[in-house]
């Protein structure tokens, strides 16, 4: 109960803090809109009118990953710059419980992306927003955000220790889009990539969202995404514990 309250309050706090960083919200809206437009004209040029809702939806989902990536990685460096990383680590809860609400909040900012690409698609391109399973659609979005937040936790942990890890976030945007099949179906990718896709929770979350919106059974995807997220959480938590200890040994907490 106490932990649930801690997570909820910290999530809300971080969401507030990120929303006030106007740039973060601006970027999480503008970039997906550009991608949505791009995908719209591309699919239209390829004479695939049935995929236009898919284009708007996928661009929004891509945005959720972007905000998770830069929010999770950036959050720790941001804390470092502001000098709050040390007081946070020095507070009693395990650092994973402080970090997770942050990465979850970063993923939640992605809702702005999704909402904006859908509204954009509706208003600018007149794409009808008809979702086959509205309830499952909502659930699968929540599950996907949680699974991305947990992925952010595992990534974020590395940022405690390796300052240069921040540069990694500059390269991870496109590959995760490719591997999770957020817009290009996995069947087009070389076979050896598939196992990597299968172990990534967002792959299943995205699949559930696509199925819930456009037709298909969303539930297996939701279940697998949740299961993988739980596994990731255990891993992420262990990684944070190990990394926090190493950071205390190697004195890398206060470095700017």
């Amino acid at each position: 109960m106490r932990i649930a309250r801690l997570l909820a309050v910290c999530w809300w706090f971080q969401l507030k803090q990120m929303t006030k960083a106007g740039l973060f919200v601006f970027t999480s809206i503008i970039e997906p809109l550009i991608f949505a437009t791009l995908a719209y004209y591309l699919f239209k040029a390829g004479h695939r009118p049935g995929t236009l809702l898919y284009a708007a939806l996928s661009a929004g989902l891509m945005g959720i990953w972007t905000s998770t990536l830069f929010g999770s990685g950036g959050a720790i460096n941001f804390q470092r710059w502001q000098g709050v990383l040390e007081p946070l680590v020095a507070s009693p809860p395990p650092y994973a419980l402080i970090l997770f609400p942050q990465t979850l909040a970063a993923a939640s900012i992605g809702l702005y992306s999704l909402a904006s690409t859908l509204v954009w698609g509706r208003v600018i391109f007149g794409i009808p927003l008809h979702f086959v399973h509205p309830v499952a659609f909502a659930i699968s979005i929540v599950v996907t955000i949680v699974s991305l937040g947990v992925l952010g936790l595992v990534m974020g942990a590395s940022f405690i220790l390796y300052r240069e890890a921040n540069a990694l976030s500059n390269m991870l945007e496109f590959p995760i889009w490719i591997v999770t099949g957020v817009i290009v179906p996995l069947s087009l990718l070389p076979g050896w990539i598939h196992p990597l896709s299968w172990i990534l929770a967002p792959t299943w979350g995205y699949r559930a969202i696509h199925n819930a919106a456009l037709g298909g059974n969303p539930w297996p995807g939701i279940g697998i995404a949740l299961g993988l997220a739980a596994v990731y959480f255990v891993i992420g938590q262990a990684v944070v514990v190990a990394f926090e200890r190493r950071a205390r040994e190697r004195a890398t907490l206060s470095l700017v």
Binding site: C10, F13, Q17, G83, A90, S91, P92, L253
Partner: protein
């Protein structure tokens, strides 16, 4: 039981440089120190910049793991039982960073209350009390980015007290504050000690240590060179005289000659606006001013005075003679 105990506490840093040929250099920041702070005591860790004060503090508040040795806070080990230690300690550090800039002071305090597990009902009462204590009442809803340095510093203090910790650790809390702000802060610290808290304070301001601390440990180059009450430390140099010589452009070798002069125990140099102030310590009656000036042959010398030693002189002699 002592509130804080450090036994043979050591910490080294490894510095690597170069990418292809990596060179590792080991820096000894704290070289095996022992000290104990009693419950309810206001204890000062005094030393120049780079002496190892902050490293020591970070080991005590669990942010750094000691290379060797042990430290305990109210009986809990800072490595094995870090979570218990974190609950018992309030950690306040100097400087103007350390808060979420875009959020209000109040939001910052609420967030950290949550992290310290302060129940919501208690928060409602304590946060206004602390705001009052540190004089931020009325400004708490403004974003921290608009706070002055002093306000940020006071916000740190309020944050350190949120969970009503029995032990409070303040790392150079008055650094960068204006004189009035620093005095108010010292007043707050004294209040905390009066309320029965154990306070560990680091500073490099002598008068601060003298005015506040029950006991002081002087730390230099990673080692504790003396421990005692301010009066006790002063008594170590009580039998000395301090001769202050105002000099203009004294070269290094002249100062060295002065240092090597018979009877002289230490020479400290303070740079003033146009001149240097040479602070020569010597046992009472052992040296004649004329002899000293002889060593400064060719250097233009201004006012020369002799006086009784202060705590600052005790500190200077401890830091420079060891």
């Amino acid at each position: 039981m002592a509130a804080i105990e450090a036994e043979n506490l050591r910490r080294t840093y490894k510095q690597t440089s170069g990418f292809l040929r990596r060179r590792t250099k080991t820096i000894e920041a704290v070289r095996g120190i022992d000290f104990a702070v009693d419950e309810g005591e206001l204890f000062g860790l005094l030393g120049p910049n780079g002496a190892g004060k902050t490293t020591t503090i970070k080991m005590l508040v669990t942010l750094l793991i000691p290379t060797s040795g042990t430290a305990r806070v109210l009986g809990s080990d800072v490595v094995d039982d870090a979570r218990t230690v974190r609950r018992k300690i309030g950690y306040v550090f100097g400087g103007d960073r350390g808060a979420y800039e875009r959020l209000s002071g109040l939001d910052n305090l609420r967030y950290f209350s949550e992290l310290y597990g302060v129940p919501p009902k208690v928060q409602k009462q304590r946060i206004p009390e602390l705001l009052e204590l540190v004089g931020l009442t009325g400004r708490e809803r403004e974003r921290v980015e608009g706070y002055s340095r002093g306000m940020r510093q006071r916000l740190h203090i309020a944050r350190g007290l949120l969970h009503d910790p029995p032990v409070i650790v303040l790392d150079e809390p008055t650094i960068g504050l204006d004189p009035v702000g620093a005095r108010e802060l010292r007043h707050t610290i004294a209040e905390l000690a009066r309320a029965g808290k154990t306070v560990l304070l680091t500073t490099h301001y002598m008068y601060e240590a003298d005015a506040l601390c029950d006991r002081i440990a002087v730390i230099a180059k990673g080692e504790i060179v003396a421990t005692g009450t301010p009066a006790h430390l002063k008594s170590a140099v009580a039998d000395r005289t301090v001769i202050e010589i105002e000099a203009y452009g004294a070269p290094e070798d002249a100062i060295r000659r002065l240092r090597d002069a018979p009877g002289v125990t230490s020479v400290a140099v303070e740079d003033r606006e146009h001149a240097q102030l040479l602070l020569v310590q010597a046992p009472q009656g052992s040296v004649l001013t004329q002899q000293l000036l002889g060593h400064l042959d060719g250097v233009r010398v201004g006012r020369v005075t002799a006086r009784e030693p202060t705590l600052e002189d005790a500190y200077v002699s401890l830091v420079t003679e060891n």
